[in-house]
Assembly symmetry: C2
Homo-oligomer: 228 residues x 2
């Protein structure tokens, strides 16, 4: 009986995810699901990279959190559309909740949508939200054992962003160990080293996002006019 119900939960999620993807495709929005543990630096990364994109891409954000609007307020300060999705204690975003968020965004005026998932290295990786790709975030202060301990977080992602790299000399974090473990999990993934607060690595991330080919074609960079 448990298994049946869990199947239903996943099936309901997957149905909503498929609907989300169809909606995003039909409105020309590329959607990225940003995953990582609490404090990995996902919001800081968005704060740093979004201003480098908005000259030619119309960006929006869905912010996942359990109970607060702290992160949405930080994104709102960048002047891009943002909707806070509250899970009410839930440990991951669901496609159904994302569906509600999509209804509140002006999708016909968006090229690139980031979904910042709940800060949790485990559960979010199990739920398709209808995104086109995932980016996984790992801070050096979390420790270099984390790819081996949380492999699903880094599996089948095209990009892994290492954050807070300025703090590495003060930790035991070994870039070689992490790169080797990540290569084992996602052999094709790009790995970027960043330090969001000082802007280090943000240009590389920005270039990656602008040139990334999705579904056989690149983003509509410059191909659509800003309307806002």
């Amino acid at each position: 009986m448990n298994i049946q119900v869990l199947k239903n939960i996943f099936q309901r999620n997957d149905n909503a995810a498929r609907e989300n993807r169809e909606l995003l495709d039909s409105t020309g929005v590329t959607c990225i699901n940003l995953l990582g543990g609490a404090g990995a630096g996902k919001t800081a990364l968005l704060e740093a990279v979004i201003p480098t994109l908005t000259d030619s891409l119309r960006v929006a954000v869905l912010e996942g959190d359990l109970a607060t609007t702290k992160d949405a307020a930080r994104i709102d300060a960048l002047g891009v559309p943002v909707v806070q999705l509250l899970t009410d204690g839930g440990c991951h975003l669901t496609a159904t909740l994302v569906q509600q968020g999509l209804q509140r965004l002006p999708l016909d005026q968006v090229d690139l949508l980031f979904i910042e998932n709940v800060g949790n290295p485990i559960c979010p990786a199990n739920f398709d939200l209808g995104e086109h790709l995932r980016i996984s975030v790992l801070s050096v202060t979390e420790g270099d054992d984390k790819p081996a301990k949380y492999p699903l977080l880094f599996k089948d992602v095209p990009l892994i962003v290492l954050t807070k790299c300025d703090l590495q000399p003060l930790t035991d974090f070994d870039f070689d160990t992490v790169t080797r473990d990540l290569r084992r999990i996602s052999p094709e993934a790009d790995i970027l080293q960043t330090q969001a607060r000082k802007g280090i690595g943000i240009d590389s991330l920005s270039t990656w996002l602008r040139t990334r080919k999705l579904r056989g074609s690149p983003y509509p960079v410059g191909g659509r006019q800003h309307e806002g």
Copy 2:
């Protein structure tokens, strides 16, 4: 139907938790459930504090992880009994899994049992394992917004350990903000600042653990002879 099944899951867990607590009580073992996000520094804290306790307390550890035995190997190096509990991708320990771990420990030769939960700031807080108290761990590198964002992690715990405090000057982490937010969530909790690798704050933690009164009486410190 979903609700009924979830009720069953919690009820099964709570039954096992009650049995665990009865077993621990009957064998005179005090059990601490150590909670915190991935990379909060729970294992490093155990590595630092256990050697300060073993002169008069017989310590054992149950190590929770999704897939690896990395943490158990670190604890094993301290020379105390340890059992690795693998959740096989699950995001929290259950009382049932802990029950299996307890069967593999020489409980009649243990005074103090640490259960290190899966690194996850959300799900583990919802599951009673049969412990006598919880200690929550937060690293300064995770950010000072975490108590507000993950209140359940810090609720009804007698002790919150802040870790990696040496890195605070390199972050925006504000001790006043965190202390104020933690006081709101758990007014009675003690808050300790530590840096495990240099041993800072570890004496205070050790003293706290030795003198903590549980169920009306202190640990059997020195009251039982080592047999191992």
